[in-house]
Symmetry: none
Subunit: 368 residues, 2 copies
DNA sequence: TAACATAATGAATCTAAGA
DNA sequence: CTCTTAGATTCATTATGTT
């Protein structure tokens, strides 16, 4: 590198169409304040395709850009783009990467190998994830973001601790974020009503990341720009962006989308916390918290019906095993029952409704 | 199996004191049903620099070679113990590993490189995490578990889908678990009131993992046994354990702790039979038992489709003869159909699903 | 129009037994 | 080994259609 000749100006608020590594290598070193990257996940899906219980087909991400022959090939790709990012990052810049269990461990390792310094891993808890249709695994209800500084010596990175805390009911912002999927109006669709991009991210996710780790006027680079969520949020928040996208159709959709975005006033940037429905509390959590012991007997208030609490959070009435709701309905011969208000445990000789153990857990679960 | 030469019995419900890799290599291959591992991560950053695995300080944190060597040593260690685990795992065994952003990416990558197949990554959301005192990062409010099968071909792993669902408001259990930290009574303390082990995991975390992925009587191996949470929970849940721990003081504390654990009753641990596990009933048996007569008309619930019951247990829709499933799929134009839940017969003017005749026959088959 | 019912869909590593 | 068949399997939200 050596001498830096007449430096070209940064291509701000634009989308560069082409390979992200080449495009980044054409940018001057130490020139961006933040990177947000949503690289291919390398899903490795089977040939057969997946059917829902209603026999409709799941629209899987089977695009060519997500296919890598081996982990080695994926690792090489990952190292290359991460290294290119690191070169253009200012010394105190930070980088966000999002991924799932398919790829995030490769990405995290590569980050560390290249000298990045992990500040947090963040869990995006999806409000409405796709279920596991075959019942063979836990519902894959989250994705992971890694937030890293350029190196362990980058102590002066931006983090708006107080703003985040103020927007989080004066509690420190935790590493688990509860945010809905990108659907509805926000999801870009073509004239036929099909989604333009298979993996468009919600703006709320980008907004929280960029609010936390950048200042107004900062330059945010996105090497996998897609349909430009990063650009749209950057513009709205008064940040600048540089997008790089290989597919011209995505790039075009992104620029049209961003053109329609209105930047927010400073006052509007102080976002009110999102209202959430009360979180569901699994009955298993009441047992795990020690309020009710496995093997205990639950009864209705007048002790006409009884069942035994199992360690898995189900009830056993001697004939059938099922949820508090199912067994409650069964013993009464009703089609449905709210087990929380129906079942009681004995405490100091008196029946205590199990619903009384829910409130505390709800409060604790609501954070994040 | 063929001939099995004088095989040493497994050291069940014991703690082996020593190096976990040597201890595992002394166990017979394909002998455990599940592994739960809470490995050390010595990649800890000090406030002012990097520590080597032996806790000596790395002077020049910008020394790339030294940094690389540290990760490399950790990776080699990780590969070794994961490979040793894989050898002693039965073909359908699964493995759990827990870690934080310091080490989980190394572990996940090593897993994949060794041929394990990741089934889920699970987020343990802590109810009461340690706050971030300096306000420079998000509160680190979670840890990550990886759940993996021995290989992509291990399709027969244990997963108690229905039990988990029943304890979770009749909804699929998600990949984000909300569980309190290990504190209070549960936390092991020495005579001076200091915690015995720095990273004792909550029993609820182990209980959910082991209930999900093992059956009563299964053998659970924990190569980093510590103060024996895995053993305590395994005993309580009627599973067997093999613990391996390098520090004799931890091993001793673990055995004392486990000795005090009362196992739950067999009845409480009984696994309810799932639909998948129930014996198959030929539709012909329903006819033979007289529940449905040959020549009767079957319809879907809303009577849009119809077919005739043949004496051989097949259906005839006027054009094609085939199984209840095949004809069900055919009339709907779907690739597949569960004929048991699709077809109905008329009884007292109302449609009755033919599946309702299976339960009685199953009962009879079980008794006969 | 309002209320209600039905259909669609989201980064998915998603079956098991028997011939 | 492959091929065939039985039959088990979904949650939250948005979009669309019907009464």
């Amino acid at each position: 590198m050596g001498l830096v000749p007449t430096q070209r100006p940064l291509p701000l608020d634009q989308v560069l169409v082409g390979d992200c590594i080449a495009a980044m290598n054409a940018l001057p070193a130490s020139s961006v304040d933040c990177v947000f990257a949503d690289p291919p996940y390398n899903l490795q899906l089977g040939e057969a395709g997946l059917l829902r219980p209603d026999q409709s087909r799941v629209d899987a991400v089977d695009d060519d850009w997500d296919k890598f022959a081996t982990f080695e090939a994926y690792d090489a790709f990952t190292r290359d783009w991460l290294a290119a990012c690191r070169r253009v990052m200012k010394p105190n810049a930070t980088l966000w990467v999002i991924g799932s269990y398919h790829n995030i461990f490769r990405v995290g390792s590569a980050l560390q190998d290249l000298g990045y310094w992990i500040l947090n891993d963040i869990v995006w808890r999806k409000a409405n994830p796709m279920p596991n249709f075959r019942g063979k695994r836990f519902t894959n209800a989250h994705e992971t973001l890694i937030w890293a500084s350029r190196s362990a010596e980058s102590k002066g990175y931006t983090f708006h601790y107080d703003a985040l805390k103020g927007g989080n009911e004066d509690l420190q912002m935790r590493s688990d974020w509860f945010i809905p999927l990108c659907t509805g109006e926000e999801r870009l669709k073509d004239v036929e009503g099909h989604k333009v991009h298979p993996t468009q991210k919600p703006e709320a996710l980008l907004a929280r990341s960029l609010m936390a780790a950048t200042n107004p006027g900062d330059v945010v680079l996105d090497p996998f720009f897609g349909t430009g969520t990063t650009g749209a949020v950057a513009k709205r928040l008064g940040r600048r962006f540089i997008g790089i996208e290989r597919e011209a159709t995505y790039a075009k959709a992104a620029m049209e989308r961003i053109a329609a975005v209105q930047p927010l006033s400073k006052a509007a940037l102080m976002v009110a916390p999102t209202k959430r429905a009360e979180p569901r509390v699994p009955f298993l959590s009441v047992i795990e918290a020690g309020h009710i012991r496995p093997g205990e007997i639950v009864t209705d208030e007048r002790r006409r019906f009884r069942a035994t609490v199992r360690p898995d959070g189900q009830l056993d009435n001697g004939l059938v095993i099922g949820s508090i709701h199912k067994i409650g309905a069964l013993v009464q011969g009703l089609p449905a029952c709210n087990g929380w208000t129906f079942w009681h445990v004995e405490r100091a000789g008196k029946p205590v409704v199990i619903d009384s153990y829910r409130a505390g857990l709800r409060q604790a679960m609501a954070n994040g």
